[in-house]
Amino acid sequence: MEIPRETLIRMLELMLKIRHFENRVKELFAAGEMPGFVHLYLGQEAIAAGVCATLNQDDYITSTHRGHGHIIAKGADMKYMMAELYGKATGYNKGKGGSQHIAWPGLGILGANGIVSGGIPIATGAAMSARLRKSGQVAVAFFGDGAANEGAFHESLNIAAAFCLPVVYVCENNLYGVGTRQSCVRKIENIADRAAGYGMPGVVVDGNDVLAVYEAAYEAVTRARSGEGPTLIECKTYRWRTHFEGEPDTYRPPEEVEAWMRREPIAPYRRHLIEQGIISASEAEALEQGVIAQVDEAVAFARNSPFPAPESALEDLWA
């Protein structure tokens, strides 16, 4: 499949943004600069980047508690994200949402969601809305392996298939739901096999291969946009960090973590682009330095931003 050069470079940039943003959040959180909890997307960068590279700005996504990657890949400005993580007034959601609840409808981001599977019916409804309004938009629901065992998953996929809705379900199977290995609580190996039960295509892809993710997403999004209905894509991947920052990793064999970290998605892709002459080594380096500068700027913006006025806690409830 012929992927435009700017898209190939864009995917590298998005992955680098996610990587550097998350690494910085990891450090800042450990240093006690951020309140609450953070769930890092490190290791899964290729999925958000590969899927969102196939979407238009007005296409919809719903995200999860591990949502920073999706939000960045859909085009969010890291300054306002970082400010939201700091609980500052300048954050995307005025400090009312935080890490797990970033939304920005102008970019089609219908919210990261702290309820496992919570975004799946919402994306399905957005797809219904797009169809009834004849807008040509597509909705993508990102969710994890754990969400695929929720009723919301089953109900939504059945309805989406029955109504032939323009929606793509992207399951990021990182093998663990918090501390429970998924193979202990799910009989089948591939979640994508469930697609057959709903009457939609199910595709398994290597979630650490951004080109494989892009191609699967491209086909699914094209199918959705042309009225042929939903697709379930299962991306096999792994989170480098524990479920949330600060949680001791008592449940994963160290050799498993190491093996997956050797399969990290960015360096091989970068080498591939250089080998193919898509980008030179110096251009790639400049791209990365630019991303690091943007992350620096985001942190400075967040640090220098004011906290919301306490009484603003009573605003924004009613429309």
């Binding site: 949402g97 409804g125 309004r133």
Partner: protein
Amino acid sequence: MREISFSQAIVEATAEEMRRDPNVCVWGLDVGPYGGAFGCTRGLYEEFGPERVFDMPISELGYVGMGVGAAATGLRPIVELQFSDWITLPSDALINQAAKMRYMFGGVLAVPMVLRAPVGGYLAAAGQHSNSYESMFAHIPGLKVVLPSTPYDAKGLLKSAIRDNNTVLFFEHKKLYEIKGPVPQEEYTIPLGKADIKRPGSDVTVVAYAFMVRKALAAAEQLAQEGISVEVLDLRTVSPLDEEAILNSVKKTQRLVIVQETWRRCSVGAEVAAIVAEQALDYLDAPIVRVTARDVPIPFSPVLENYVLPQEADIVAAVRRVVHA
């Protein structure tokens, strides 16, 4: 004025709003050609077609959750639950999603969805088809909760609910569906959050809503013959609650009886009593009395159900108690 039934009023309100706004659509169980289990979508499929009126599988979390997503992206969906008892199934879509999305996201989006659902007992429908869960949802910031008592109110309130930019739970009592009342041909709406004096009186305020308004009015008629003047205040919306109307009435009559069909503990009636205790205690000449369901599930046998649910005689006795206190 012409008279139409409560369910016809629901149909009329929906049809008028669908003609006015192409983004209003209806989905739920059997709402299409079947016309709804209680006839509240009759004729809509024929007029507006399968694009805007369609049947869903029995997947409450799925299709209510879809309503949230559709409402956040430009539609104004009216989602019908066949019985409100099943609202437990999509409760995450309502409580954790619809109610919070606007606030949690700093006001950047809105969820203008209406969830319509039949409530109430007195039908020997037993423990999973007789409930009134409005107290649970009135507790949740970000949800509006409406319970009309007449065809006139049903139509005007539903039109306002559809136009409202927030998520509105619109609970319709099953015993009211076939009851007829005057409804003008002309366009009108009734604002959410405004109570209505259904019968003015001077000796005691009876606060009620939904089907209990009819029981309160019947009790008031009986008490009038004893020389007791009862004011019946119909809340119409239990969230937001019309505190001003409650306080004004209590300050006038100086006695309060609260009637609700649902359970007593942590309920709408408890909230009304608390508001009056906090803000108008000095005006009261007698302790507040509540007439409610007894705190057990709704039993099947009519003998048991009638014992558990409030009756007209209970209201009469409660009013006598506060008047003669």
